[in-house]
């Protein structure tokens, strides 16, 4: 009997962990920003979540060359390509379909903002970048995209 209780408890602990992990990892995938200008792939490293640019609607600059991170405040990084750049950093899952304590980088002006991500449904994220407190911010709605299979 004791074994059954122990096993049952262990089972529920395992199940809870799996469910929590599933909820946390629901953010993984490829997302399109509200403007449709960029697609971002959200990955995980350790317990933290990151997002990098994997597609740009206008991938070339005015000279026809691949866009680089020309507005980065760090001059050494200004010749780095925008494609592949990690613009979301260090997000932790805090429960209730919310990821916090991360930052979002805007390549158009080289600014980094505090950021919270809330999953409205499995295909929609509210990504709020803000300055200091959430009031001074803007929410962008990202949509999940699925990659079409190549024939």
């Amino acid at each position: 009997m004791k074994q059954i209780i122990l096993s049952t408890t262990f089972f529920f602990l395992c199940s809870s962990f799996v469910v929590a992990q599933e909820e946390a990892d629901a953010i993984l995938g490829v997302w399109e920003s509200g403007s449709g200008k960029a697609r971002i792939k959200i990955d995980k490293s350790g317990e933290l979540y990151y997002g990098r640019i994997v597609w740009l609607r206008e991938p070339k600059d005015e000279n026809g060359k691949p866009k680089v991170d020309k507005n980065n405040p760090d001059e050494k990084l200004r010749n780095k390509p925008l494609l592949g750049y990690r613009m979301l950093k260090n997000f932790s899952f805090v429960g209730d379909k919310t990821w916090e304590d991360g930052t979002i980088y805007d390549p158009e002006n080289g600014s980094t903002y505090s950021c919270t991500i809330e999953m409205k449904n499995k295909n929609t994220l509210d990504v709020r970048g803000f300055i200091g407190v959430s009031l001074f911010g803007r929410t962008d709605v990202w949509k999940r995209v699925t990659i079409k299979k190549r024939s």
Partner: protein
Amino acid sequence: MRILGVLWLSFCTVQSFAQEPDTTIVDDDYIEEDFSIYADVEIAGGGKRFCTSKVFDQSPNKLVSLGWDFQGSHTLTLDELGDSPAQDLEVQSVQGFRFGANFPVVSKTNILINLGVNYWESHYRIDNRDQHPLAQALQARALRTSGVLATVFKPLNETHFILFQGAANLSGDYFFPDFQSLNLTRYSATFIYGWKKHDRLLYGFGLTRTYRIGEANYVPVLLYNYTFPSRKWGIEAVFPARANLRRSFSSRSLAFIGYELEGQSYRMGSIQGLDGIADPELRRSELRIRATFEHSLKDFIWVSAQLGLRYNWNFNLDDGDLFRGFGDEDYALENDLTNALYFTISLNLVSP
């Protein structure tokens, strides 16, 4: 029973591994790979795409702005009022604070709603002001505008959008303990239907009810925001209210050359009843032709410096907030101002 426990444990372990995501461990901020697979996608769940309200390199929205406006010396020609004859008076300066705050309260892909407040004041320093009651009122009480505004940007799809802006302002020679009646609130509104052709071009047509000429009028409006392919130059215009040619030196330094028509109708409570004028409304309107430089001091704190010529459009006085339209009814007082140089400097907290 032991077997059952082991099975459950195995089940849990298998589940954990089954849920291990297909992730890429990111070791560096910059990753190189074949990104072409991300070009051909579809929105999960069949979502719809919407256009945004800005074009590339457009100047950033100001969440909070605190500024100082200063006009240099000029001559004020006042019409006869009561016992005071028509006369010319020297204005040494007109200056005052300008505060504005404008926050997005709803910021979704399919709708943006901003709410804001604004407060402007103009303090006059006039020589020999005691010779005319209007000059006395301008110096003693100043002109103030307090208002609220709301902006709604509603994209209909990837190309079309609707823009609505409404504002309510109280303008007059009031003090804050002696506030103006809310019945004197003046309402302005703009409705625009527009197209966002691509990331560098957005335009629209509409109608506005505006006090920018000092009194209420209804005029057609053209919204035009364009960034040239070089990304160094652009145009930001809501014609006829304002138009600017923009030069982008970087994402943190912008310069503009252009104009703005500014105006309000001010209830001059302090001269009420003089010369039989029951409801004096000072129709103040200025065309400001100027050069502006905006620069990010640090992160989201921007400084804006503006230098230009203030050209008088209207400084007449009506008895009541009558609607003249494009008619030529006489004013109760026909005043004039010579032109003046002005500058405005402001600190701004800009939007992400």
